[in-house]
Amino acid sequence: MKRVFVKEEWCLGCHLCEYNCAYANSGLSSMVKALQGKPIFPRIHVNGNDSVTFAVSCRHCTDPLCVKSCISGALHRENGVVCIDKNKCVGCLTCMLVCPYGALVQDETGTVTKCELCTKNSCGTPACVAGCPNNAIVFEERCEE
C-alpha cells in the first residue's frame, strides 16, 4: 500500500501542504473560495523547531492505536487506510491522546479529522504530495521494517 512519507531535509516549512490539503478536502472548485477568510483544518501539519521543519500526517500504522482506542467505533481501517466516520465521532479526542505522532486534529465541527490519503475526495493522489515544491513529501510503496 502506498503511504505518504516525509523527508525532513527537504521540507521548507512553507506550509503549502496544509493549504493544499484543506483545499482538497473542501470539495470546492477554487482554493480562494475554499480558504479565504476562514480558519483552516488541514489533515497535515508542519511541525518543527528552530532548525528543522517537517510535515506530519497520519502514518497509517499497520496496527493503529487510534483505531483500537476509539470509543465510538468511528476510526477504522479501509484497505490499510485509517479512516474516520465523521458521523460516528463524538469528539472525545481519545485518539489524540494515544496517537504518538500528533496526526489527528479537531475541526470546526468538534469532531476529529485526519488524513485519509485523499481517498475520499476527488484528488486521486494526496494533494500535499502533488503540491510540495521540494519533493519533501512523497507517496510511495515501502516495506515494513
Binding site: E9, H15, M31, G131, N134
Partner: protein, 501 residues
C-alpha cells in the same frame, strides 16, 4: 539630503480577492518583503527589499501575486536613463563600487540572433534523427595533425588525454561558495548521468563530490583556493582560469558572508574572510610562464588529464589563443562578455570584454591559419542560451560549449541578479542552510538532465536538417551559417556570408 531615498525598482501587486493569507510568500522571502499584519488580517509588503526573484510569485498557491516594474519614473531622458541616474544616487549615498551578478544585461548585440542556420532541400537530403543514427559525441583534447605509423606500418593510436562528451555541452565553472552544496550536487549528478562534465570553479571540491570525479573538471585560479594534489587528481581535466567573461581583468570575488562551514574548509581559507582572487596569476606574465603552469599541472597529474586554459574574450583574443595553443594546453575555453558571475563590479560586467561569437570566429580562423588548430580543442561560453546557439557555435568553429546561466535557470534561478547578497531564494547562490535546502538535488539534477536531453534532441533535429549526421562534421562548417542585418565587417570577422548570398 544625506541619504537620498531611491524609489524601489519593483512593485508588489497583491490581488486581495485571491490572497488567502497563507503566508507562504512571507516564509519564502529571505529579503523579508512580505509580512502579515494581524490587525488588518492582511498581508503587506515592503517593496524596497524586493529583488524580483519571483519565489513568492511561483509558490503563491492562488496566484495572487505579481511583481511589476515600479512606474514611478523620472522625467524621460534617452541619455540619462532612470537606471543610470539611480546608480549615481546610490554611489552618492554610499561612496562604493556598484556590485552586480549574472551576465551583462545591456542591450548590446547578440550575434547568435543574427546568424541563421542552413537546411537541405532536394539534393543532399535532410536526415531524420528519429529514424537514423545521429552522432553528437565529441572528444576534447589535442588531436594529431597527421597519421603516424610505427616500424610495422601500424597506425599509432596513443592520443593525448581526451574528454569524451555525449553531447558538446558542459556545465561551466561555478564555485562551491558562489553556489550552494545542493547546486553543486545537482550539477555533478546530472553531468554523470548525461556523460558530460561540470566544473568546480575556483572554490575547490567538496569531499562528498570526489565520487563524481570522472565527470568533473577541477579549476585552478589565481587565488589557488582549494588546490592540492588530491584535488588536481580528482577530476577528469584541470582548468587554469586566466579570466572570466563577466569580469575580464579582475579575479573572482566571493563575499565573506558566503565563506561559512564547509565552504571555508573546501577553499582552505578562514570563515568569514572575503575570497578575493588576485587579478593576475602572480606567476604568469607570459606564455612561457603559462606553459610552466600547464606542465606543472600535467606533472602533478601524471600527464593523464587534459589541461584547459580559460580566458575571457577580449580585444586581442586571437593572438592570446594562438599563444595558449602553443603553451601545451589541450583545450582553450573562451568566455564571452555576456557570461554570468556570482559577483562583479557593475562597470566591469557591463563594459569590459567582447562578444563570444566574434571571439570564437577570429580564434578559430587564426588557429587554422597558423596550422595549430589541432593543437587544442575550443570550448566557448558566455551566454549560450539554446540548442541553436550550440549549433551555431559549433559551426563557427567550437568543439563544445560551456553553459552556466542556462544551467542555473534550469535549477530555478530567475535572473534577479543579486547573487552577491547571498540570499538566493531559490537555494542556488546562497550558503544559508534554510535557503540551500530549497534546492533538492534530486529535482535539480533531473531538471538539468531534462534540459540537456531536450537540447540534444534539438541539436540532432538541426543537424539532420543540414544533412549532417555527426557533430564533428559540423565543426567550423561556416557554410551552414548566414548572417542577417550584419555589416560587412561583422560578416568578415564571423567568416560567414550574408543571407541570400
Amino acid at each position: 539630503m544625506n541619504n537620498m531615498y531611491i524609489s524601489p525598482d519593483y512593485e508588489v501587486i497583491r490581488n486581495m480577492s485571491r490572497c488567502i493569507t497563507c503566508r507562504v510568500c512571507e516564509r519564502q522571502c529571505a529579503n523579508e518583503v512580505h509580512s502579515f499584519d494581524p490587525d488588518g488580517n492582511v498581508m503587506i509588503s515592503d517593496e524596497s527589499k524586493c529583488v524580483n526573484c519571483k519565489r513568492c510569485v511561483s509558490l503563491c498557491p492562488t496566484h495572487a501575486l505579481k511583481i511589476v516594474k515600479n512606474e514611478d519614473t523620472l522625467r524621460e531622458n534617452a541619455n540619462w536613463q532612470d537606471a543610470t541616474i539611480k546608480e549615481i544616487y546610490k554611489q552618492a549615498n554610499s561612496g562604493g563600487v556598484l556590485l552586480s551578478s549574472m551576465g551583462n544585461p545591456k542591450p548590446l548585440p547578440v550575434y547568435w540572433d543574427k546568424i541563421l542556420i542552413n537546411a537541405s532541400q532536394v539534393t543532399n537530403p535532410p536526415i531524420d534523427p528519429l529514424r537514423e543514427p545521429m552522432e553528437t559525441r565529441v572528444f576534447l583534447g589535442k588531436k594529431p595533425d597527421h597519421i603516424e605509423r610505427d616500424e610495422n606500418g601500424k597506425i599509432k593510436t596513443d592520443l593525448a588525454p581526451q574528454l569524451e562528451l555525449s553531447v558538446p555541452i558542459m556545465f561551466s565553472a561555478m564555485s562551491y561558495g558562489s553556489i550552494s552544496y545542493n547546486a553543486h550536487k545537482s550539477l555533478a549528478t546530472a553531468a554523470k548521468e548525461l556523460g558530460i562534465y561540470y566544473n568546480t570553479g575556483e572554490g575547490g571540491l567538496h569531499e562528498d563530490f570526489y565520487v563524481y570525479g570522472e565527470n568533473t573538471i577541477v579549476q585552478v585560479a589565481s587565488g589557488r583556493f582549494g588546490v592540492h594534489e588530491d584535488y588536481l587528481n580528482a577530476g577528469a581535466a584541470i582548468e587554469i582560469k586566466m579570466g572570466q567573461g563577466a569580469k575580464p581583468g579582475i579575479g573572482g570575488h566571493l563575499p565573506g558572508a558566503k565563506i561559512v562551514g564547509d565552504v571555508s574548509k573546501t577553499r582552505m581559507i578562514p570563515e568569514g574572510s572575503d575570497a578575493i582572487s588576485p587579478a593576475p596569476h602572480h606567476d604568469i606574465y607570459s606564455i612561457e610562464d603559462l606553459r610552466q603552469l600547464v606542465f606543472s599541472l600535467k606533472e602533478a597529474s601524471q600527464y593523464k588529464k587534459p589541461v584547459i586554459v580559460k580566458v575571457a574574450a577580449v580585444h586581442n583574443i586571437a593572438a592570446i589563443a594562438s599563444g595558449i595553443a602553443r603553451s601545451g594546453a589541450d583545450i582553450i575555453a573562451i568566455d564571452g562578455f555576456r557570461g554570468g558571475t556570482g559577483a562583479a563590479p557593475t562597470r566591469i560586467r557591463d563594459n569590459v570584454g567582447i562578444p563570444i561569437e566574434l571571439a570564437l570566429a577570429s580564434v578559430d580562423q587564426r588557429l587554422r591559419e597558423e596550422g595549430i588548430r589541432n593543437n587544442v580543442s575550443l570550448v566557448v561560453g558566455g551566454s549560450i542560451r539554446s540548442a541553436a546557439d550550440v549549433v551555431k557555435a559549433i559551426a563557427l568553429g567550437a568543439d563544445a560549449c560551456y553553459i552556466a546561466t542556462a544551467a542555473v535557470l534550469a535549477l530555478g534561478c530567475h535572473l534577479c541578479r543579486t547573487c552577491q547578497t547571498g540570499k538566493c531564494n531559490w537555494g542556488i547562490a546562497t550558503q544559508r542552510p534554510e535557503l540551500v535546502k530549497r534546492l533538492n538535488p534530486e529535482i535539480g539534477s533531473q531538471r538539468l538532465v531534462n534540459l540537456i536531453t531536450a537540447w540534444k534532441h534539438e541539436i540532432k533535429e538541426l543537424m539532420g536538417g543540414m544533412g549532417i549526421n555527426s557533430i564533428e562534421a559540423l565543426r567550423g562548417n561556416r557554410l551552414m551559417l548566414r548572417g542577417v542585418g550584419l555589416t560587412g565587417k561583422e560578416l568578415e570577422i564571423l567568416g560567414i556570408s550574408h543571407a541570400g548570398e
